[in-house]
């Protein structure tokens, strides 16, 4: 099954990369951009038939490896 994991920086955590990208867009003349946040998305292919089982395995992977709970939240989406 295909699984998409969206790893999302918690909103109160500084995002220097986003801030720098914003500045660069302004320099290029895109002054209409108000904010930029840069996140990670992971695409997994996982063996299994039961979407619920797959989801809970991937949840576990997120907790143990894929996301950093101190800085990030995550969302798991199983799309066949």
């Amino acid at each position: 099954m295909r699984v998409t994991v969206r790893v999302i920086r918690r909103p109160d955590i500084a995002d220097p990369q986003g801030a720098t990208t914003l500045r660069a867009l302004h320099d290029l003349g895109f002054s209409q951009v108000r904010s930029v946040r840069v996140d990670r998305t992971l695409h997994l292919e996982v063996d299994g038939d039961d979407p619920e089982a797959v989801r809970s395995a991937v949840d576990e992977m997120c907790r143990r490896l894929l996301a950093n709970p101190v800085l990030e939240d995550f969302e798991v989406e199983v799309t066949e």
């Binding site: 220097p16 990369q17 720098t20 990208t21 660069a24 320099d27 290029l28 840069v38």
Partner: protein, 220 residues
């Protein structure tokens, strides 16, 4: 007066002083130029030094490639003047489309700072004109996103790693454009100009570059 090299400083660049020092030690003349300057007239060549322009945020070299000075660098390249990108400078040249390909993270996802051996495979460039094909040089590598990829297959490999430290395509350590006046190199020749700090194998590379400066007259 000897021809002057512009050493471009982006915010986050950190090897500019080293490059200037090394070029001067070899009898060249070089000056730092800020990335917002749009004018490189009076300079005979340009070096984009290593470092972390704009923190390497987004992609290394990506934001720097949009700086005002890059139009002038492009012009210099078009005129056939020597344009040398070292490490981060090579990444900028790729992002600006002045050299083919792009860079991705080292295979082992670790920063690498150590001496590596590279072999000269092409001497028809501003970086290697005084060398011999097959010559082996020992110079320091210092990068995280050091692996070059080039789906187009257009890049001319100039130096090749003897082992494979980072997964670079064709073990490329330096790549030139078709004319050989624009060159990107991942290891740092300016860090190998003094026995005391470990090697002088960068000297012939920088000397090739300095020699190339003499070839075209400089207009003010």
């Amino acid at each position: 007066m000897s021809p002057v090299t512009a050493v471009v400083v982006f915010p986050g660049t950190n090897c500019e002083r080293d490059v200037i020092r090394a070029l001067r030690a070899l009898g060249g003349e070089a000056e730092a130029v800020w990335h917002r300057d749009a004018d490189l007239s009076g300079f005979a060549g340009v070096v984009l030094p290593g470092g972390f322009a704009h923190g390497d945020y987004l992609r290394p070299g990506a934001i720097a490639a949009t700086s005002p000075i890059m139009a002038a660098v492009r012009r210099m390249a078009g005129e056939g003047r020597p344009v040398l990108g070292i490490c981060n400078g090579w990444q900028v040249l790729c992002e600006a489309g002045l050299l083919p390909g792009a860079h991705i993270a080292n295979r082992d996802l670790r920063f690498i700072c150590r001496f590596v051996e590279v072999e000269v495979v092409d001497t028809d460039t501003v970086l290697t004109s005084t060398l011999q094909v097959g010559q082996v040089l020992r110079i320091p590598l210092n990068s995280y996103e050091g692996a070059w990829v080039d789906p187009s297959g257009e890049g001319r490999v100039v130096l090749r790693y003897r082992d494979d430290p980072n997964g670079s395509q064709g073990r490329a350590a330096a790549v030139a454009d078709g004319r050989g006046n624009v060159v990107g190199v991942m290891p740092h020749p300016e860090r190998a100009v003094d026995h005391l700090t470990g090697s002088t194998d960068g000297v012939p590379l920088l000397e090739s570059y300095l020699a190339a400066l003499e070839r075209l007259p400089v207009h003010a």
